[in-house]
């Protein structure tokens, strides 16, 4: 069976599991909302300040919410040793990893779809005319977050204190992604919005580097 097909089956299973309980999704969305709203309380931005600090706050909210949401993705497979069942199946370890990454991407995107309009309202930012380009930045940034986060979730699933460990591992490594995503978003919110190609290329490069590393190391990640 091809990796893509196997990953799709695994993705379907993850989605089905999550939509049945909805615990992860709701917690993620609410947590991200709380961060955005709290920031809005902490300082009441004028329009120009919004444009300067808004993107940073938005991406920090995604980063924190994401690193909380990513942690259970492999830890959940420890009950009843279902990860063993996946490893015994005739699917490659990359398919298992990819399935999880895709699922996490869907979940985080779901949170973003809710969050971005809220952010636009609270910070008086107009999204008209930039939605398409904003989506590109969001997709690239989320991919980087999800790729590294899923790998680190697989790592921390075996460790003690894994809820605290995952953000600890993830956030320093994502620093360049944060810078790039914030800058790219900021340039879209300027008076004359433009899609900053440098940063978009950087984000794409980040994603490719870590996706490739995941592919090369997936066997060691998923093994006994």
């Amino acid at each position: 069976m091809s990796t893509a097909r196997a990953a799709a089956i695994l993705l379907a299973k993850e989605l089905r599991l999550e939509f049945r309980t909805r615990e992860l999704l709701s917690a993620t969305v609410i947590f991200a909302l709380i961060i955005v709203v709290l920031f809005s309380f902490a300082f009441d931005p004028t329009a120009t300040e919004s444009r300067r600090y808004g993107p940073g706050l938005l991406w920090i909210a995604f980063l924190f919410a994401g690193s909380l949401m990513l942690q259970p993705s492999f830890a959940r497979e420890q009950s009843n040793d279902t990860l063993d069942a996946l490893r015994m199946a005739p699917v490659s370890s990359f398919a298992i990893l990819l399935g999880k990454m895709l699922a996490n991407f869907v979940f985080l995107s779901f949170a973003e779809v809710i969050l971005v309009p809220v952010f636009a309202v609270l910070y008086n930012v107009s999204l008209a005319g930039i939605m398409g380009r904003l989506v590109i930045v969001l997709v690239l940034g989320t991919t980087g977050l999800v790729v590294t986060g899923t790998v680190f979730s697989a790592i921390s699933a075996h460790a003690r204190m894994r809820e605290l460990l995952l953000p600890l591992l993830l956030l320093p490594v994502l620093a360049p992604l944060l810078i790039a995503a914030v800058e790219a978003t900021a340039s879209l919110l300027m008076e004359q919005p433009e899609l900053d190609r440098t940063w978009v290329a950087f984000l794409a490069g980040f994603d490719i580097v870590f996706l490739t590393a995941s592919w090369l190391l997936c066997d060691f990640l998923v093994e006994e």
């Binding site: 590294t148 075996h158 490069g205 060691f220 990640l221």
Partner: protein, 238 residues
């Protein structure tokens, strides 16, 4: 024992000589005068820490390929040494910046990279502390270590890109270009001496880690035998 004294004496001599060179041989810098002399150690610390983390990267790959625990031990030793050198870099940076430029910190490419590296490799050691099974600890921390090192150039690049878009006063940059020949020689002396200190420490930490590993194995085996004799069965670690 004698060799240890000899090595320690050599290290002390190197540091002394480097310090002497930095303080007395190096010419006075035009604008910053005395304080600038920290730069020799600041840059040397950065180079040694980078070399140490490169060694961690190589050890991580080597472990995953060969599965020999000595690579894992080397990775830990190199990470410890790297963090120490990083700390030197992180301390000398502000010490230099404050008297000269009036600020403690700036997000220039090198300082940022140093700081993030410091955070990542401390996380590396933290991760290891939280993983109990030896083999799993080695392979999982190796994966993290590989990701961390791949991130280093990305951190550096992102910072440089950001600074080209938002021009900041150049603080630490510029020493690499147009360095006075005597200064360059002193820099070389400092770099060599710091490496000369780092390498024996690295070897020592490596040996310590190997011993730690052996003790862990022995302790584990002893506990197994103890529970074995108590219950008449060997509890399989499955």
């Amino acid at each position: 024992m004698k060799s240890r004294i000899a090595i320690t004496a050599l290290m002390a001599a190197l540091i002394f000589f480097a310090g002497y060179a930095a303080l007395f041989i190096a010419p006075d810098e035009r604008t910053m005068h005395e304080v600038q002399r920290i730069f020799y150690f600041h840059l040397s610390a950065w180079m040694t820490s980078f070399a140490a983390f490169l060694l961690v990267f190589i050890s991580n790959i080597a472990y995953l390929v060969t599965r020999r625990i000595k690579w894992d031990c080397l990775g830990v030793a190199a990470a410890e040494v790297g963090i120490a050198c990083c700390s030197i870099g992180l301390i000398t940076g502000p010490l230099w910046a404050r008297p000269v430029w009036g600020i403690w910190w700036t997000w220039d490419a090198r300082l940022t990279t140093t700081f993030i590296m410091w955070l990542m490799y401390i996380s590396y050691l933290l991760l290891r502390g939280l993983l109990e099974d030896t083999q799993r600890r080695a392979s999982l921390s190796a994966i993290f270590g590989i990701f961390a090192f791949l991130d280093v150039p990305l951190v550096y690049m992102s910072n440089r890109l950001w600074r080209t878009q938002h021009p900041q006063p150049v603080i630490f940059g510029g020493e690499g270009s147009g360095l006075d020949p005597t200064m360059a020689k002193v820099l070389l002396i400092c770099v060599i001496s710091l490496f000369g200190v780092m390498i024996p420490v690295l070897i020592d930490r490596y040996r310590l880690q190997v011993l730690r590993h052996e003790v862990e194995e022995l302790r584990f085996g002893l506990e197994m035998r103890r529970s074995d004799s108590r219950r008449g069965t060997i509890k399989a670690a499955l």
